[in-house]
Amino acid sequence: MKKILVICGTGIATSTIIIEKVKAWLEKEQLNEQVELHQGNVHDAINKGNEYDFMISATFVPGGLQEKAIDGVPLLAGTGETEVYESIKSRLI
């Protein structure tokens, strides 16, 4: 079981959209059993970032955590989504 933290500026709006998309993709790939999705804001990333295997972020990631984060903005923009899913997949397997 991998723990993923999905973050955006507030942990309310854009991260919800990303979570919904990632959830649908995980179900399609039949990976949903292996993943636990959590939602948060930038402060959660700073304070609790180490508790998660990796992050998907809709905003700038604080220093020191860049390696742990996947840029989730393409999922919102609707271009380059495949690459995002590929990098999520590579971190799950």
Binding site: I7, C8, G9, T10, G11, I12, A13, T14, T16, I17, E20, K21, Q39, N41, V42, H43, A45, I46, N47, S57, A58, T59, F60, V61, P62, G63, V73, L76, A77, G78, T79
Partner: protein, 441 residues
Amino acid sequence: MEVLQWFVDLGASVMLPIIFFIFALILRTGVKKAFYSGITIGVGFVGVNLVLDLLTESLGPTAQSMVRHFGMDLQIIDIGWPAASAISYGTVLGSLAIPISISVNILLLTFGLTKTINVDIWNYWHVAFTGSLVYAITDDFVLGIFTIGVHAVVLLLLGDLLASDVESYFGFQKMTFPHAASAPSYFLAKPMNILFDRIPKFNKIHANPESIQQKFGFFGDSTILGVLLGFLIGFLAGYEWKDILQLTVQTAAVMLLMPKMVALLMEGLTPISEAASSNIKKRFPDRDLYIGMDSALTIGHPAVLSASLLMVPITLAAAVILPGNRVLPFGDLASLPFLFCLMVPVFRGNIIRTVITATIYICIGLYIATWIGPLFTEMAINADFDTGSNTIISSLIDGAVWTTFIFAGSGKWLGWLGIGMIGITSIGGLLYIHRLKNKGE
């Protein structure tokens, strides 16, 4: 007409699921998804109402007691944008903001009058907000609809104007933020920056964002902020210890629960928003366009975050000091970055410049939020929200945004003429950018 009235009388929590179910069907999401979508939105509404009830019942009497005990007249409660968005979408007029904004966007794209393709459907609540506000003032439904359309045009103009600063500073490629709470600050930041550049010595000062982020980080945590505020306000109201501590946990609960309820609304809206945005994009595939996104994307930037953290105590102090301000900043304190984030690229990340400009901005904003308080409350009642007995509510987002004042003021004093003039001016701006200026190049 009778059928329509019956439908409206069902109340927001029944009417909205039906409206959004129909929207989803029109966008061909499939019946099952459409049904889930509608019901989730309804559940979100019920949730927001519950939490809003808790807020007005706990903080309302406290604010009144603060007046008696301390002489601080801060009786208008800032309920925060999550509740403001629910109130804005909570009427037939408000929900129509989505199809209207999409149509305006498609129309302007077709005529080449904008380069912004606004896929951030959720944030159409801001135009629903001004539309509902003008409707609450004038009782003219059609003028409310017209306001929604005009505000949508204004946002596209802002999106086009911002794009180059957004790309060069934040590095977001082909993206812009036509966000009604954030983009207007750009107009104060631009002239202020020119002014700052001319002040000798001052124009060389910088501040380090990382250290601020560490020292003031707790201001960014809304639950902690709820604890601090509840305690402070209870103390100022002259409460007993037991009541202070109870209020403290209640305000913390509101801060944590309100966003969760609104996240449900968003979840319900996501299939609709996805279908709508891919639909718009399909129509304009190969064009050189900016994708309009939520300015939340910029909030993690260290300069944005640090400046906004500093603005939390400044906003509270301003609310207490400013004579005539009656707004008690609460719900939006943790969301202040939305108001200031698009100043940051103009100032190239200079925190001192951002904080000075943001202070001026919020001082004006508090007066606007005070002024719209009674209208905001009427709007909430129109959307079936219970604001408790004689509690007046408002919010900093978008209550403290100057465009809110322009729309509400024009609607109040000039009616159709006022809103029409805003529309003509912004169309003029778009014509200038995309026709006249480009021809010269």
